[in-house]
């Protein structure tokens, strides 16, 4: 299981031009596309397993941050990967695979959120209190006191990110959780890079106001 690649330096506007070096996963996606085009679906599926393993961790982080439910995130990620394979022939090889995949994943998350809100509209609430689920400790702290502080802080951070407006939250998640550049996020969301920067600036400002202890 490969981990998320280290964060790249943000690219200036137009950095996703065809001459920009593409990632290993983009080349792999292009190869899968060729295999599907010549009818070698079994071989394509095998290669696709590698692509799934490479992108999976990043995908679940995005989906979980977006949906805040492990089951829904699991479903969204699965749907996104299946959709990517079934539409691999429409993948543009001159663009980074991550951008295309992120766009599909975000759409899958949005679809799932819509269906979840539809479900909740008809469901009887189990409890009147709207509690935020306690977050897992970020690291094994030596003392119980430190662990408690760390857990409280994680809960604060989760609540602060959840309080962001949808667009700001999406942009922030893609930039700081999925570790994409603003240029990639603008392509993934179909927004201008300036708009992405504005949303990101507002998100960071709000988070700073909510979380900054200094």
């Amino acid at each position: 299981m490969s981990r998320t690649p280290p964060r790249r330096a943000p690219a200036p506007a137009g950095a996703l031009a065809p001459q920009a070096p593409l990632s290993k996963d983009s080349h792999l996606a292009a190869e899968i596309k060729r295999l599907v085009a010549v009818g070698e679906r079994d071989a394509a599926r095998e290669r696709y397993g590698e692509l799934v393993a490479s992108q999976q961790r990043r995908a679940v982080r995005i989906a979980y941050q977006y949906l805040r439910d492990a089951h829904d995130a699991d479903e969204a990620v699965q749907d996104a990967f299946v959709k990517v394979f079934t539409h691999i022939t429409s993948y543009r090889e001159d663009l980074p695979f991550e951008v295309w995949f992120t766009r599909i994943l975000v759409n899958a998350c949005l679809d799932l959120r819509k269906s979840r809100s539809r479900r909740l509209r008809w469901a009887v609430p189990m409890s009147a209190t709207n509690e935020v689920a306690p977050a897992e400790p970020t690291a094994p702290d030596p003392s119980p006191e430190q662990r408690l502080v760390s857990r409280e802080r994680a809960t604060e951070i989760t609540a602060a990110v959840d309080s962001l407006p949808d667009r700001q939250r999406t942009v922030f998640t893609l930039c700081h959780v999925a570790e994409q550049t603003t240029a990639e996020v603008s392509q993934a969301l179909g927004l201008s890079e300036a708009t992405v920067r504005v949303h990101l600036f507002r998100a960071v400002r709000k988070l700073r106001r909510l979380l900054d202890r200094a």
Binding site: M1, R7, A9, P10, R41, R45, Y48, G49, V52, A53, Q56, R57, V60, R61, Y64, Q65, A70, A73, D74, V77, Q78, F81, V82, F85, T86, A135, E136, P137, T138, A139, R153, A154, I157, T158, A160, V161, T173, C175, H176, V177, E179, T182, R197, L200, F201, V204, L207, R208, L211, D212, A214
Partner: protein, 187 residues
């Protein structure tokens, strides 16, 4: 976003301690948020779950692209007949036939009921038991409903009953009969 520092910004940050401290604190905050998000997602999706998820994705892809099996129903029906032009008149005819059948059934039932009461000399008895004797079988096989002539005497009836009890098929029921309490045993 914070990683991108132009030369002019770098120059300013090197001279302005306040801005530099602010930048560092913001950087730390964003790292904290990012680490928390990663830790939450990683706790919800341990490696085993990721492996299971990957297996499920590949299993779903196995079935992708295969044509779905369509079972023709009803068999032998023309599949490309336009539905709108076919179902509406057909359903009208079916409804009309159902209503007609109901009316005829009600009238016939009423007429037959009246007629049966007018018939003299014959009593109709509905027998709820099936007797194994062939001579008691009705000439027409109409299930458990048979016509029994009222002229049969009590002696004949008991005689037929005894012969039915002595039949080999009834022996199989003997253990069940032994288990069944008699009326005089129950107080």
């Amino acid at each position: 976003m914070l990683d991108a520092v132009s030369s002019a910004e770098q120059e300013h940050l090197s001279t302005c301690g306040r801005c530099d401290a602010r930048r560092v604190s913001m950087q730390r905050l964003l790292e904290e948020v990012s680490e928390t998000a990663h830790a939450e997602a990683d706790a919800a999706f341990p490696l085993e779950r990721l492996n299971r998820q990957q297996a499920r994705i590949l299993a779903r892809l196995q079935h992708e692209g295969r044509p779905a099996r369509v079972i023709a129903f009803p068999a032998g029906h023309a599949p490309h007949e336009p539905i709108g032009s076919r179902t509406r008149p057909a359903s009208r005819w079916i409804a009309a036939a159902a209503v007609g059948g109901l009316v005829v059934g009600v009238i016939a039932g009423r007429f037959g009921h009246d007629y049966s009461f007018q018939r003299a000399g014959i009593n109709r008895v509905i027998a709820s038991r099936t007797v194994e004797q062939p001579e008691l079988r009705a000439p027409v096989s109409t299930g458990a409903i048979r016509e029994v002539a009222a002229s049969i005497s009590d002696d004949e009836f008991l005689d037929q009953l005894e012969s039915a009890v002595d039949a080999p098929a009834a022996a199989a029921l003997q253990p069940l009969d032994d288990l069944t309490p008699r009326a005089w045993e129950v107080r």
